[in-house]
Symmetry: C2
Subunit: 215 residues, 2 copies
């Protein structure tokens, strides 16, 4: 019945990763089962183990590949053009990835076994947000920033884009990716450009004493 074709090792590996990506995307790491992945690939369990060793190995392989394609897509636009174009280009590239590879994005966003949550995207920050920092370095070097604040901005910008990506992926809402990118880029860009020389010096209202948790 089933047109069971025999694949070569690299082909099978490729196919398994694609199936696994889809399954991990909808179920999350813990709930996904190797058996289900094998079934959807039209293959039996030991094949999966032969290729990836363990469930964690399979997941890691999928995440790594996805991370690579995401970085590859973002790196190009962020490396060329005027600063503003580079920024907007990067945001657009990120959101385009969300659109083109929703399963991949879901896998990156969902809980990982390597614990500590969001490890995937944190690594994307490492790979790209540094470069984001570089882009801005040229633009606001004039304002003697506290270097310890840099990761704050990098995280803020990435979080901004990521959350919008998630919102978009979840809902649709009739907003195009290009439009969303424009708005997000405008927000981030204008925010960075008009930062006060030293936000730390601004006056603030006193912090209310935090009431600790019981226990």
């Amino acid at each position: 019945m089933k047109s069971k074709k025999r694949l070569s090792a690299p082909e099978r590996r490729q196919q398994l990763m694609e199936v696994a990506r889809a399954v991990f995307a909808v179920s999350g790491y813990e709930s996904a089962s190797i058996e289900e992945i094998a079934r959807q690939a039209g293959v039996s369990k030991p094949i999966v183990y032969e290729h990836f060793g363990s469930k964690e190995g399979l997941h890691a392989a999928v995440v790594d590949r996805e991370l690579d394609t995401l970085v590859a897509r973002v790196i190009k636009p962020i490396s060329e053009g005027a600063p503003r174009e580079r920024f907007e280009g990067a945001v657009l590239a990120f959101l385009a990835y969300v659109k083109d590879e929703p399963d991949g994005f879901a896998v990156l966003t969902r809980d990982s076994p390597t614990a500590h949550g969001r490890r995937g995207l944190t690594r994307v920050i490492g790979a790209t947000a540094e470069r984001v920092g570089d882009v801005f370095a040229a633009s606001f070097k004039h304002a003697g920033f506290n270097p310890r604040a840099a990761p704050i901005y990098a995280n803020a910008l990435v979080g901004m884009v990521t959350q919008v990506g998630q919102w978009w992926a979840a809902g649709g809402h009739g907003v195009s990716i290009e439009l969303a990118a424009k708005h997000v880029a405008a927000l981030g860009w204008m925010g960075m450009r008009h930062l006060p020389k030293d936000p730390e010096m601004l006056p603030t209202k006193k912090v209310k004493a935090a009431r600790g948790s019981a226990r």
Copy 2:
């Protein structure tokens, strides 16, 4: 040996939720086991089921309570003062929550059983980002915004704060929550204040044709 005291139902319920919050925070929903929670509470499994019915019920109870406390903390500062103060106050309140209740924050950010990921924070967006929108409505009503863009900004702002919270919770990095709040608030505020009248009208480079995935 163990000073097993007998607690009243409400007391036990409270205690179980606290223990569960901690366990869910470190393990995530799927990996956490009722048995482990019961053990840490110094109680046997059926007790947990008597109080919450199911694992999902317990998790939902924890999430709901955490959501309530988060909203309660953010609502106050966002409701009083000058616009800029309200904004910064809300950001600070959010990050203070991250600091004071790291387990609660972890539970809210981690994968939920209710699927579709990040349901928790999405609801926080619903509860607070709307208000964020209100705050800004007063400030940039002058610029006839496309109403469809509103959720984009709401999501961007919340994502910004959330990601910084996550970064902070993960690392420490010797940056105080107050400082982080200042920077993040400055970024968001300045971004919103200096938005071009209509970002959609700005020229952009052409989008590169997306290469689809195989399959």
